[in-house]
């Protein structure tokens, strides 16, 4: 008799999610039939390799290698970001070609090309994207701004869901401005006031906004169909997806796209208590996001990109007060539910290594960008799997020999005893393809554990 989820320990939950990951299902819920025993073996070997690197219970057969691209698969197929954002049928062939040609140990889905028509329908104001403020051959970029004002913390803390359902969309999507006028439906609990909060839904501007949402939904579905077509094909080719979904550190949620970098930094000084209360309100929501994704997809890895806690962005004291406690709570909340936080520490994280050691063993993976990898390995040895640090300059302008040397050095320094994943440290678009291939091939030759 299988144990119920609620009765399992965090270890059992993690094992259950890993077991689901290694035995994928088809859309009907039956065991996936791989086209060949080779593909099935490759798939299972890869999942096992990543699992062993993360759990720190035994050495994997060799160092796992992952490639985490931005629009690189598009460029590799001679396409621009614009091409794949506006022609969804071009996504699957390009992404598949990229992973099949380079043969890393997993794929990270094809969600990078956000559907262009979806953005057009809603009039997205938070980013500039190809042919909409940046050239067609350029990646999309966030526009820094205050999308939540300094005096709106109380409203946010009291009702974060209302903020995310109505206030925030009304500001970042021009087609959804009328949502700001919609009241919560709390009044519906009494018969004689039931119809009152529905009045705005009869107004033409709100109707137009709802119409735009439905059309945007159609577009999102079309696009997801293209992404799932890729996911299906690439799984059949023996590549597991190395993430089920994503969540964020509360300080980044507020600092990236609610208050903006400058806004959140002012709040550290001017209203620290409200900033903290808002992060406390966000924490359970961010945990839930990750847990739901992992359980739904059947893969324990959940991505957490880290932004504004990097070296230089905050003092040690500020990091310990505003960043780490809430990130840690999210990490532990995920770990409790068997989820493996797959943490992507962008920029430098040298000054944080001693702080992030305070975690349970074998439950997280940390991918670093510009952090000193010897120091990272030393700090997290026996605590967490480390990885990352394939430098962008090396990928872009380095020689093949430099790529070989750097890869071997990383394996020597970080690979010892397992607990290491070779990966890039920052999303990449256009690089020297031969360097990418060289790195993967070098890991496969040099990274074998004897």
């Amino acid at each position: 008799m299988e144990k119920k989820w609620e009765e399992m320990t965090p270890e059992e939950k993690q094992e259950t999610l890993f077991a689901r990951w290694i035995s994928p299902k088809d859309p009907e819920g039956n065991d996936l039939k791989f086209p060949s025993p080779e593909a099935e073996n490759l798939y299972k070997e890869r999942v096992t390799r990543i699992k062993d690197a993360i759990q720190l219970k035994k050495k994997p057969d060799r160092v796992p290698v992952l490639l985490i691209p931005s629009f690189a698969p598009a460029f590799y197929s001679g396409l621009t970001p614009y091409d794949v954002m506006y022609n969804y049928e071009k996504i699957a062939p390009a992404w598949k070609k990229f992973f099949v040609d380079f043969q890393p140990d997993g794929h990270g889905h094809a969600f990078v090309p956000t559907p262009g028509k979806f953005l057009d329908i809603l009039g997205f104001k938070l980013y500039r994207w190809p042919d909409h403020g940046v050239p067609k051959d350029t990646t999309y970029q966030c526009i820094e701004g205050e999308y939540m004002m300094a005096d709106e913390y109380d409203a946010f803390i009291n009702n974060p869901l209302y903020f995310f359902y109505f206030t925030w969309p009304s500001r970042v999507f021009s087609a959804l401005e009328p949502l700001a006028t919609l009241p919560p439906l709390a009044g519906v609990t009494e018969m004689y006031t039931a119809s009152v909060p529905f009045m705005p839904y009869g107004m033409p501007p709100v109707k137009a906004a709802l119409q735009a949402m439905m059309e945007a939904g159609d577009e999102a579905l079309k696009w997801m169909g293209a992404c799932m077509a890729f996911a299906g094909e690439i799984t059949m080719a023996g590549f597991p997806a190395y993430l089920a979904g994503a969540t964020k550190a509360p300080f980044d949620v507020i600092g990236d796209t609610l208050r903006g970098t400058k806004g959140v930094m002012m709040d550290i000084y001017r209203q620290p208590d409200k900033l903290i209360a808002a992060m406390e309100a966000l924490t359970p929501m961010e945990i839930q996001l990750g847990v739901d994704a992992a359980k739904q997809i059947g893969c324990p890895l959940v991505f957490i990109p880290l932004h504004k806690g990097a070296d230089g962005f905050l003092s040690d004291e500020q990091y310990k007060k505003f960043y780490w406690p809430y990130l840690k709570e999210i990490i532990l909340g995920l770990v409790d539910e068997g989820v493996v936080p797959f943490i992507w520490a962008e920029g430098g994280y040298n000054s944080r290594l001693d702080i992030i050691r305070d975690l349970p063993r074998g439950k997280t993976a940390w991918l670093f960008d510009q952090t000193d990898m010897a120091a990272a390995k030393k700090a997290l040895d026996g605590i967490a799997c480390v990885g990352g640090n394939m430098p962008m300059d090396l990928l872009t302008v380095g020689t093949t020999q430099q790529a070989i040397d750097h890869t071997k050095r990383l394996i020597d320094v970080c690979g010892k005893g397992g607990g290491y994943i070779m990966a890039n440290g920052a999303f990449f678009d256009k690089v020297k393809w031969e360097n990418l291939k060289t790195i993967v091939d070098t890991v496969k030759e040099y990274g074998i554990y004897k």
């Binding site: 970029q141 526009i143 930094m265 002012m266 300059d393 302008v397 920052a426």
Partner: protein, 210 residues
């Protein structure tokens, strides 16, 4: 005895700073003297940032307090009280890249250190850099970029400066995101600055050598 503006501002005590400035203005003090004290405070802020005592939030906050001080003082200024500038710099985030946090920090630090910075903003074309160099005669150019795509934009900007016959008249520094000495060589720039203070050090070195 009024509290010392230089140290109060350097310690980022916003409310106290505002009070001191208001008191001194209503006592009829020369607004230029107040601005002079504010400048001295910002130099201390810059030094604390350089020595890792202050970090980006502290720098950003000091800039906000300075803005409030300037707004209070401005209406009382009879003539433009510009400080003597040590040198000109043309600065901007290169074409295709719209990131400005890093650029703004370097520009702020250069300004605090007495440079006359011509900030062209973000997504700046090579031609705009060339035009501004010609217009100002600045001997230093700062190219900022967060994305890897900036590698090529920087290279093209340096090439455009060369094509305009200005390459031997300017020193070019790059910085931001994924920049490095390797990328400096790739773009043909003269130096890579790892952070804002490295940028200031480079600018000072180049100005004193010119």
């Amino acid at each position: 005895m009024a509290k010392d503006l230089v140290n109060t501002l350097a310690d980022l005590k916003e409310q106290e700073v505002i009070k001191i400035v208001k008191d001194r203005l209503s006592a009829g003090e020369d607004p230029l003297k107040i601005l002079g004290d504010a400048r001295k405070a910002m130099e201390i802020v810059g030094r604390r940032f350089a020595s890792s005592e202050y970090f980006i939030p502290d720098l950003v906050y000091s800039g906000e307090i300075l803005k409030s001080v300037t707004e209070l003082v401005k209406p009382k200024l009879s003539k433009a009280g510009e400080m003597k500038r040590v040198g000109k710099i043309v600065f901007g985030t290169v074409a295709g890249d719209i990131h400005d946090i890093g650029k703004d920090i370097v520009v702020f630090m250069l300004d605090v250190n007495g440079f006359e910075v011509h900030d062209l903003g973000v997504d700046v074309s090579a031609q705009k850099f060339v035009d501004k160099i010609k217009e100002t005669g600045a001997p230093i150019v700062g190219l900022s970029g967060f994305l890897a795509l900036a590698f090529d934009s920087m290279k093209q900007t340096v090439e455009a400066i060369k094509a305009a016959g200005l390459r031997d008249k300017v020193k070019v520094m790059i910085g931001g995101g994924q920049m490095s000495d390797e990328i400096k060589n790739y773009t043909g720039a003269d130096a890579y600055g790892k952070d804002a203070m490295a940028g200031v050090t480079l600018a000072k070195k180049w100005i004193s050598a010119s």
